[in-house]
Assembly symmetry: C2
Homo-oligomer: 313 residues x 2
Amino acid sequence: MNEFDLIDALLADEAPLPSWVSTGPGDDAAVLAPPPDSEWVLSTDTLVEGRHFFPATPPDLLAYRALAVNLSDLAAMGATPFGFLVALVTPSLNPAWCRRFGAGLRAAAGDCGARLVGGNLARGPLAVTVTVTGTVPRGRALLRSGAGEGDGIYVSGSIGAALAARRLLEGDTAALATMSLDTVTDDLRPYLLPAARVELGERLRGIASACIDVSDGLLADVGHLCARSNVGAEIWLESLPAVVGVDRREAVVAGDDYELLFTVPEDRSLALPAGDLTMTRIGRVVQGAGARLLAADGEEVALAQAQRGWSHF
Amino acid sequence: MNEFDLIDALLADEAPLPSWVSTGPGDDAAVLAPPPDSEWVLSTDTLVEGRHFFPATPPDLLAYRALAVNLSDLAAMGATPFGFLVALVTPSLNPAWCRRFGAGLRAAAGDCGARLVGGNLARGPLAVTVTVTGTVPRGRALLRSGAGEGDGIYVSGSIGAALAARRLLEGDTAALATMSLDTVTDDLRPYLLPAARVELGERLRGIASACIDVSDGLLADVGHLCARSNVGAEIWLESLPAVVGVDRREAVVAGDDYELLFTVPEDRSLALPAGDLTMTRIGRVVQGAGARLLAADGEEVALAQAQRGWSHF
């Protein structure tokens, strides 16, 4: 068994490469032909075993999550996914593992058009680094920095669902090892198989003044957006679309939601197709700095510093 | 100390971002504006502690090597480096470490134009994944697949220098911990601070019929090129530009050279500016498959399978 057999297993069942892939896996680098008048959007994220995923996670679920959290960063930029690279570090490998890993990547890419164009295999403690690329029409990327005073603050979908799923998993990690893409139950999907809001991000171009994905925790991510926009924010506790069974005070700091959080100027209409995905107004942009969480009576809700979001390091 | 302080330390002393960086570090993703009529070249490579670098390696040397080996992949494509991303996994971090790491990245980028545009920090066993992007005029990338029967085979610089340096280091890893960018001696540079042949790669566009960088070992890399080009190769042992003190039979399988290995059709002139970098003709492309190493008398030199190149996995 050599690395080429492993790569072949990983690429098994891949459809023919689209025309914009001039050179795919197998050369020193991938070559991609972008659409004219586009800019390139690039992001990278690493999942480390035991820190970002449970050690028992099967390879298809691991691959799905590793790609999905990266696609979520592209969604937050309003980008259309393009090629992605996978740098896999793992203590051991076999073709069956690689085939399942490849299936997980394809499932996460879904119909968003993202294609595996290259990568790297290395021996070491299990970690997956995915680098995603996407395109936006020139000058149309959604940034964290465009929010203005008075803008409404919105979040897609619900928050806290990943927290609820993680709690279920923590109670039974043995069950995780036996799961596959097809057998993950709906209550576990928000954590194991998060849905990147790619289509929503594309639709928000020209509507949202600023956008970020909810990965560190809603309140922390509002704070990141505020910092880059030089504004403050009021978040209305009672408006937060927390899932049943999770307290809003927990959901607002839980993280891993991978919903889009965005601001919309008052004079723009958030005319999005209804679909299954709800949009909830949760606050407004104000002068100042930082995000304040307000109860129904207008009083600020105090949260311990330790609760204010995931620390990457 | 939070991650933002660490990122600030890593970005300290960065020059202002060039105009092609529409959005640099600090958003969900980087946004880059490519030159018109270009294609994008993308590669990623991970260095794992204890496997790809000595555990005592100081952060500036680690960063330099991590970026240089990636830039070498761009060089092999004839690409002009553009933005790069760094996904750093490490058990602990402090601002002084980050400042030195940043200095190493800038030193490796040198004057080739590559700029840090984004990345990720995560806690875990030390590993660095760099993703590099570059551009080539549309359709002009150097591939592994263009070699034709009769083409001359060339290599830049010398081979075996990294092997010699690694042997010196293996005898005294304690000394490594005290080194910095400024104090690495010339005999250790080929391994610790390899020079990516970016300018040579750009000049080989339109001249070389195929190209690869020598990372796995010259003979193995000739084999990779042959496999993609559906040809065979003769490599002339006595012509190999091995450094003094390293046997050519060792140098040809040593790896880590990061020189460019390329083929040139007989009717094209390899008219490259002389400079300091030598080009040596080391063989020719033939019908068939695989690379054969020939002694001066035309007899094939047998090498054990285990000697035929670095296994990534």
